[in-house]
């Protein structure tokens, strides 16, 4: 096995025993980047110098006996998390040269744990997109088939984890941006409960939906990263002061006593046959592992989630993105006067998908349309949340596909926004509800990955990790690596 294919916990064992140093591990990952990046295009900025410096410090820390499970282990951050002194672009022309003066809370926490940062991962511009084709710089390719998309918006980080360009990554998820690419790249992705992880220093897209979470090679790694990044942060007034458990204690390889619901609305019309077959096999496995499965679960408002989401998210986005005016930071275009300069800055600084959402959000919030669109969507949000609450009175978790299809071809949906939006149909209701969702590899359909999505009530990450772990141990789908 190559060093870059190791998981966090495997790396930690070797580092602890002194069988490998953080410098060696980091160099192996950096070499993998220089070898695979030509085909993958997953990384916007490689931070080689910083990584080697942090690795040296980590080796010292390990020698002194003061290491944590993440010490000395390479990580990639999605390029929308502020890193002090390191360019943070959101894969946008608007922030191409933006160097944050402070670190995001998650970055501080990883640094305290002894992280080695190898770079910043490519994404759809400002996290708006489901394929990484909306990056203003370049398109990331799916490591399982370079002609296909890795998913989005955390497509760069997901492709990098699957390929060994990093040991793990942090992504952000507003409507599926961690989970859909995790499913498309056959790795593990967790969107925590809203408020579980601080958003301080995460470039805002839709503030009531955004959440940071881990992209990892297995479920144990997901638990290890959560142990570090979860928790209350006074600098994020929406972070929740709720105790952080040791998530690794939830990793039990059986599902006895758990009741799982399969919401029928998620096995939608237009769903790829092969994906459905993989899901049925996966659910049968969960039953074999001791869970009780009810195929009659129902969340009737699911069909309204897409419309509600694509009103709420763009409305919040248009407000958040008002700050890009070419004055304080970022791209700045010349103009005849202040307003002209600002309007041109935004015309030439933003890409087409970001503009579409700003326009959509502005429309939904404008006088005369607010009640019909934004307020209506917020009321539908209430109904969707109530249905989740009712479902979790009966079930410990719900099981769904991650996406109705396997990864699609590059270019297939990029000119048809509605088709692109539909690829999030299974993931975005979870952000509307603020609940956690875990995606684990569930197998392949014609050689392309299929992810299983596990949903739970707020702060039930431990239950989700347990289910994901038991399934992973019994099947081993996640151990397969793409050849790049």
């Amino acid at each position: 096995m190559k060093l870059y294919d190791l998981t966090i916990h495997q790396s930690h064992e070797l580092l602890k025993k002194g069988e490998v140093s953080s410098i060696e591990l980091t160099k192996a990952v950096l070499e993998r980047i220089s070898q695979a990046e030509e085909k993958l295009h997953a990384i916007v900025t490689v931070t080689e110098e910083l990584a080697l410096r942090q690795a040296e410090q980590a080796d010292e820390r390990i020698r002194s006996g003061d290491s944590t499970p993440l010490t000395g282990i390479p990580a990639l951050l999605k390029d929308n998390m502020c890193t002090k002194g390191i360019r943070t672009t959101c894969s946008s022309r608007m922030l191409e040269n933006f160097v944050p003066p402070y670190n995001a809370t998650v970055v501080e926490k990883l640094e305290d744990a002894g992280v080695v940062i190898v770079g910043k991962g490519n994404m759809d511009e400002f996290a708006m997109g489901s394929s990484n084709e909306h990056s203003a710089f370049f398109i990331t390719h799916n490591p399982w088939d370079l002609g296909r998309v890795p998913g989005g918006s955390s497509g760069g980080p997901a492709a990098a984890v699957a390929t060994g360009e990093t040991i793990y990554a942090l992504g952000s998820d507003t409507g599926g941006s961690i989970r859909q690419p995790a499913g498309f790249c056959s790795i593990v992705g967790l969107k925590p409960t809203y408020g579980r992880v601080s958003r301080y220093g995460l470039v805002a897209f839709a503030s009531s939906l955004d959440q940071i979470g881990p992209l990892t090679k297995d479920v144990t790694d997901s638990a290890l990263v959560m142990n570090v990044i979860a928790g209350y942060d006074p600098r994020d007034s929406t972070s929740v002061n709720y105790p952080v458990p040791d998530y690794t204690r939830a990793l039990i390889p059986d599902l006895k006593g758990l009741k799982l619901g399969i919401p029928r609305e998620y096995f939608v019309e237009g769903m790829q046959k092969g994906v459905e077959e993989v899901m049925r096999t996966a659910i049968a496995k969960l039953e074999e592992l001791g869970a009780t499965v009810d195929w009659e679960a129902s969340l009737p408002s699911t069909k309204y989630a897409l419309a509600a989401y694509y009103i709420i998210a763009p409305s919040e986005a248009m407000a958040n993105l008002a700050r890009y005016d070419g004055v304080k930071y970022g791209y700045s275009h010349d103009g005849e006067n202040m307003w002209d300069a600002m309007e041109k800055t935004r015309q030439f600084g933003f890409g087409p998908e970001v503009k579409r959402r700003i326009i959509l959000g502005t429309y939904a919030l404008s006088a005369g349309y607010y009640d019909a669109y934004y307020l209506k969507a917020q009321k539908v949000r209430t109904l969707i949340m109530q249905e989740f609450q009712q479902a979790f009175e009966h079930y410990d978790a719900l099981i769904t596909p991650t996406s109705p299809t396997v990864p699609f071809k590059i270019g297939q949906k990029v000119d048809d926004p509605l088709q692109m939006y539909l690829s999030d149909v299974c993931t975005l209701p979870i952000n509307i509800g603020g609940i956690p969702g875990l995606v684990v590899p569930a197998g392949f359909c014609d050689g392309l990955p299929v992810g299983m999505q596990i949903l739970g009530k707020p702060f039930s990450e431990e239950t989700l990790l347990r289910i994901g772990y038991a399934y992973e141990q019994a099947t081993g789908w996640g151990q397969q690596r793409p050849r790049v």
């Binding site: 419309a307 930071y329 006067n337 202040m338 309007e343 326009i359 404008s366 009321k379």
Partner: protein, 95 residues
Amino acid sequence: MKLSREEVLHISTLCRMSMSEAELERFQEQISNILENFEILKEVDTTDVPPTAYPIHMENIIREDKTAPCLPQSDILANAPHQEEGYFRVKAVLD
């Protein structure tokens, strides 16, 4: 819901983002198409349903009123496209 050309122009002004003629036409068509699909929300009976802004219950989160160090001015201005004497520089606001 079909958006008129004038409506798209009005939105363009509201969000302070100018558009080329080609963009104007494309957005008019695409946004109209998206809004048409959102008509599905009209089916939902939301009488007496309160709106939800945030998925968690929160009220009046306030921090303690005490001073703490902030970033130096030079750090904040470091990313400014145009600056002068410790200020952000913009074009004339009034003609």
